[in-house]
């Protein structure tokens, strides 16, 4: 009956809640999103190209710069891929420490997520609470490897250093603190009426649709698909750990929230098991002096806090750098779902959805 114009709203790349330099071009009918074009690449540094010109060890610190809120996970993923190429057996102690670091990293990453996600929806206090606890994890990492953000904390074949004395005790202390803090976040959000109204039924995606869209990690599990690389294709010491994979039912923003909140607890459980059962022994396996994997290619995936983090690496067997280095960034593939998720919702929901996909632009753009 009426001739109405659609409003084109350019959200980002400079916008408080696009988590970095994401740009979303929204076509709006009133405040309703008709279509969304997600534009990325503002943080592209050519890590894949760079890696083809660095030697195998130097690449570890490039991987730090991808998902910079979960650098240790990236390190583990890369080192395991190279170990797979070279068929290096990693000692058990190193595997356990890797598991601890990965799970601490997952907690730190989820802390950042819960803080920013809640902030996007307007609950500012959770942000500061979550960062308070993330600080404790960063302290642990600082003690382990000297860095707080980009750790460079792995070596091919094992670890650069053994854990400092007393570190395991501190990790257990942290676990005790964190347990109570998770309840605190949940108290502020989980049963909050406004939180429920803002997240329930927002961005619903069914399990098969999520699989088809290539979602992985919590966004996929929120839709009820029990896919977790840690369980399905165990790496590090996950095959020796007892933990559950939480799944949602509705596949909406609230379920993705619940899944991550439960992952906090499961991660703590793994950290406890690994720290208490930490075996003695060497920390580096038998690694040749010159790292030069045989010719061949392989794909190896691990479960990063964001989803399936895969490395596809081709070695030509001749040179000391990879012939092709490819990362399957979980944030990239999850962000792809944003367009589908936000159609028909309001501008305010777009912000909530970006938060619930938990993307890190450093990883999306590489």
């Amino acid at each position: 009956m009426f001739d109405t114009n659609e409003l084109v709203l350019n959200m980002g790349p400079q916008h408080p809640s696009t988590h970095g330099v994401l740009r979303v071009i929204l076509r709006l009918d009133g405040e309703k999103v008709v279509d969304a074009d997600v534009v990325i690449g503002y943080l592209h540094r050519g890590i894949e190209k760079l890696s083809e010109n660095r030697n195998w060890t130097q690449i570890i610190l490039l991987t730090d710069r991808m998902d910079y809120v979960a650098a240790a996970t990236n390190n583990v993923g890369y080192c395991e891929t190279v170990e797979k190429l070279m068929s290096i057996e990693v000692p058990r102690r190193a595997k356990y420490v890797r598991t601890i670091l990965c799970e601490l990293q997952r907690i730190a990453s989820h802390c950042l997520w819960v803080g920013t996600h809640a902030m996007d929806i307007g609950a500012m206090t959770v942000f500061l609470y979550a960062f308070r606890e993330r600080e404790l994890i960063l302290d642990l990492f600082e003690e382990f490897c000297g860095a707080r953000l980009t750790y460079n904390s792995m070596r091919i074949g094992g670890l650069p250093l053994d854990i400092p004395p007393g570190w395991d005790k501190k990790v257990l202390e942290f676990c005790a603190i964190m347990d109570a803090k998770i309840d605190e976040y949940e108290e502020l959000l989980t049963h909050n009426r406004i939180w429920l109204e803002r997240t329930k039924g927002i961005g619903v995606i069914s399990g098969p649709a999520a699989v088809a869209l290539g979602l992985s990690g919590p966004p996929l599990r929120g839709s009820g698909v029990p896919r977790d690389v840690r369980k399905d294709e165990p790496y590090a010491a996950y095959d020796e750990m007892q933990f559950d994979v939480p799944v949602g039912t509705a596949g909406d923003t609230y379920d993705r929230y619940l899944v991550r909140m439960e992952e906090f607890r499961q991660s703590l459980r793994i950290v406890r098991q690994a720290t208490e059962g930490l075996p003695e022994g060497p920390i580096v396996g038998k690694v040749p002096r010159l790292i030069k994997p045989p010719a061949g290619e392989t794909y190896h995936a691990i479960e990063s806090p964001k989803g399936e983090l895969g490395y596809f690496i081709v070695s030509d067997g001749k040179s000391t750098n990879p012939y092709r280095f490819r990362v399957r960034p979980p944030s990239f593939c999850n962000l792809q779902g944003l367009r589908t998720l936000c159609k028909g919702h309001l501008v305010a929901d777009v912000v909530a959805l970006i938060g619930s996909l938990d993307v890190v632009l450093g990883e999306v753009d590489r």
């Binding site: 709203l9 996007d120 307007g122």
Partner: protein
């Protein structure tokens, strides 16, 4: 001469200055309270415990560059912050801070004026404040402010209905539109209207949050969605005026809530005789304490709750608050008629 000109002028000067100082310190209070809620310290550098922070803020805002976007509607862009600030200050003319007191051998009322349609005056002047936000959004010639101003105007108009309806039930109780008479009515009926009209009180408070654009209804300036909303394009002192207007409005809402529902300057429980020893406390102290309580709750809510979505806010306003306010009004009317 003194009674008709000097004293009112003096009162205006005092109230205006006190308000402006209170507004700047509200900013500090908010930062402090939220900081404590978030287990941090808040401003600590300027003066002991950051007590001089508002002064520093004011200096900073005044010497900042005042940017007018090239394609903005210049006159309207300049007028908008003023339009939002002035009504917020005019309202203080009818707010009764206390009854008559003797000062320097002279009978002085602790309010600037008491007009017989005081409450209506507040509502109507406050309704003009919407223009500041709408015009800011329009004049900036930018999409985020435009969206924000549309949200703001829709929000303010809808919640005004609910708030005004609750005011009507108070007016029915008091039988007057004058702010002073409403307090006196609470005194003579020996009851705060918060207890006589709990529903109206709740609706008024929620509506007050929405009308001052405070969390959880701060859609028009939702930073995470609209990058600051209607004042996205503003800077320097013009931005500060919007900022101050918001806090001035908070104080207005708190004062009105105090006057209408918490007995204004009356001591707690005016119906309980043995508490009469509290009378030694000056009446205006009670008023300020009660207003402060509201302000504190405003800040507390901001630190705790997430933000509503725009359509949910409208739904709450139209489908919950307005019907409830009307029902409350009808019940009040029936009770009033039956008791008479």
């Amino acid at each position: 001469m003194i009674d008709t000109l000097v004293i009112p002028l003096l009162k205006i000067v005092i109230v205006l200055n006190a308000t402006l100082v209170a507004v700047t310190y509200m900013v500090l209070l908010e930062r402090k309270v939220i900081a404590w809620a978030q287990s941090r310290l808040g401003p600590m550098r300027v003066g002991p415990y950051g007590i001089l922070q508002p002064v520093a803020d004011a200096i900073k805002l005044m010497i900042k560059e005042d940017i007018t976007p090239v394609r903005a509607d210049k006159w309207v862009f300049t007028a908008a912050p003023i339009i939002s600030m002035v009504p917020a200050l005019i309202v203080y003319a009818v707010i009764p801070f206390g009854p008559e007191v003797r000062l320097f051998g002279r009978q002085v009322t602790l309010y600037i004026t008491d007009i017989n349609v005081g409450l209506l005056f507040i509502v109507s002047v406050a309704s003009v404040g919407v223009y500041g936000i709408i015009l800011a959004g329009y004049a900036s010639n930018s999409k985020y402010p435009l969206l924000a101003s549309l949200r703001a105007s829709a929000q303010l108009i809808s919640y005004e209905v609910a708030v005004t309806l609750t005011l009507v039930s108070v007016i029915m109780m008091a039988g007057s539109l004058s702010m002073v008479s409403i307090v006196r009515a609470q005194e003579s009926q020996r009851m705060w209207y918060a207890f006589a009209q709990p529903l109206a009180f709740a609706i008024f408070f929620i509506g007050g949050l929405a009308e001052t654009n405070r969390a959880p209804f701060d859609m028009p300036e939702a930073e995470q969605e609209l990058t600051g909303g209607f004042h996205t394009e503003y800077s320097g002192m013009r931005f500060a005026l919007f900022f101050l207007a918001e806090y001035a409005n908070m104080i207005v809402v708190s004062s009105v809530a105090t006057t209408l529902f918490l007995g204004g300057w009356l001591r707690p429980f005016p119906n309980v005789a043995f508490l009469s020893f509290l009378d030694f406390v000056p009446s205006w102290t009670w008023f300020l304490l009660k207003s402060f309580f509201f302000l504190y709750v405003f800040i507390w809510i901001r630190a705790t709750l997430p933000r509503y979505r725009y359509d949910q806010l409208m739904r709450l306003g139209w489908k919950v608050l307005i019907p409830l306010a009307i029902a409350n009004l009808v019940v009040t009317g029936i009770v009033k008629v039956m008791l008479l």
